[in-house]
Each structure stands twice: as structure tokens, then as C-alpha cells.
Symmetry: C2
Subunit: 106 residues, 2 copies
DNA sequence: CACTTAATTAAGTGTATGCTAAATTAAATT
DNA sequence: AATTTAATTTAGCATACACTTAATTAAGTG
């Protein structure tokens, strides 16, 4: 799932879509009106975002309202964080090691 | 830069490379030995990661040591966080609103 | 039940991207 | 200076992906 989420946010227009729906639910056509690409193109992007777990759909009659899915972003953040945390810890240890060596030589 | 960083972590092999160098600096060939693709392919991936600001190179003789660049991941995290925070705040407000309505009706 | 509205799925096309093998760069060794 | 080692750049190819238009689905509405 994390793979799909990362894949999904690669495309700049999909990130733009996420920025739009972050403000609140929007229909497919409302989203499309903000771009100069066709409605099907938007629909395809929304499908990718949905499959990545970054948006959710709520159907109401012929309309479909798209909104952000928090859990998806949480997963994404944790993934990035894992790199951050590990490398941070390693750097911390390296710094401490360096500090220790300094004391030994002086 | 954030665009390049996101673009960079899209490719699964590049994420694998990041996992490897997260443990500590590695040469291009050391990294290549973990994969079944050619050395040039790895080199190209490393270039993408470097241009995205996610790794740094340290040259030593004919060798080049690749290591993680924390700042790059920090940027990435902040970007993801921005979606998270905004939508979280919105949901918090929505929950409070719901709570208020409950009280009004009971 | 035909028609409109909202959206998606399908088919086809051009560009971007990851791979390979071959050529090239650059530093160290003999 | 020639050779070896480490890595990159180049050129070419195959696939993935974002778009388009046309066709299809599905839920109201006259």
C-alpha cells in the first residue's frame, strides 16, 4: 500500500488534486474544473489516489464526492519518518563517538 | 526540490538503495552487489537520489561513498505533514462540531 | 421510458523512464 | 607511461504512464 501511495503522489497533478480536496470534499467535475485536462484524465487520477488509500469517495446520486483519507497520509509519514529516525539516531551515535574520541586524544 | 525527492522515492529500487545507505556509507559497487541489475543502472539511480537531495557523495580516490542526507528527508516529511496537519485539524473541528450538535439535541 | 447529468471505462497515442552493453572518465598502482 | 580499479556517461530499446476521444454505466428527471 505504501508503494501505491508513493507512486500516487509522484504525479504533480495528483498532488494538486490532494491540495484541493484537503480543503473539503469535492466532486469529480468540481476538481476537473480547476485543471485544463479532460474529465476522464481527472477520473483516472482519482482512481489512482483512491487505490493508494489517499482519498475516499462518498456517492450521492450521480455525484461522487472525493475527500482526503488521513490514514493514508499517516502511513506515508511513518514511512518517511523511519528513514529520518534511523539516520538521525545513527548520526547521533556517530557524533557521540566523535566526542568520545576527542576526549581520548586530548 | 520536493518534486524531485518525491519523484526519486517512487522507484522501488531507489528506496531499496536508501534502505541500504541508511545503515551507513556505501560505495556504488557495494550497493550494486545487493541487486541483480547492472552497475550503470545503480549509478543512474544514485544520480537521481543525489539530485533529489536524498543522498550525498564523498569521494575518496577512485571510490565514491554514498550516504543519506537527512535534510532531504526532513523536507519530504514536512511536505507530507502539511497534508496530515491540515486534514487532521479539519477533522478535529468536525468532531467538535458533531459533539456540540449531540449536546444540543440531547 | 427517453433524456439529462455525472462520472467512469476503453482504446489508442506520445513521452518519460529504467534497463542494457559499450565507451569514457578519473584516480591509483606497477 | 601503461594498466587496473571504480565509477559514470552515452546510445538505444522496451515498458510504463498520462493524456486524448469515444463509448459505457448509472442515477435522477420530464
Amino acid at each position: 500500500m505504501i508503494d501505491k501511495a508513493i507512486q500516487a503522489i509522484t504525479e504533480p497533478r495528483r498532488r494538486d488534486i490532494l491540495h484541493l480536496v484537503r480543503e473539503g470534499e469535492l466532486t469529480s467535475s468540481a476538481i476537473a474544473s480547476h485543471f485544463d485536462i479532460s474529465a476522464p484524465a481527472i477520473s483516472q487520477h482519482l482512481k489512482v489516489l483512491e487505490e493508494a488509500g489517499l482519498v475516499v469517495v462518498r456517492r450521492a446520486g450521480t455525484k461522487r464526492f472525493y475527500g482526503i483519507r488521513r490514514e493514508g497520509f499517516a502511513e506515508l509519514m511513518h514511512y518517511i519518518e523511519s528513514f529520518w529516525d534511523d539516520s538521525l539516531m545513527r548520526l547521533k551515535k556517530a557524533a557521540e563517538e566523535e566526542e568520545r574520541r576527542k576526549h581520548d586524544f586530548n
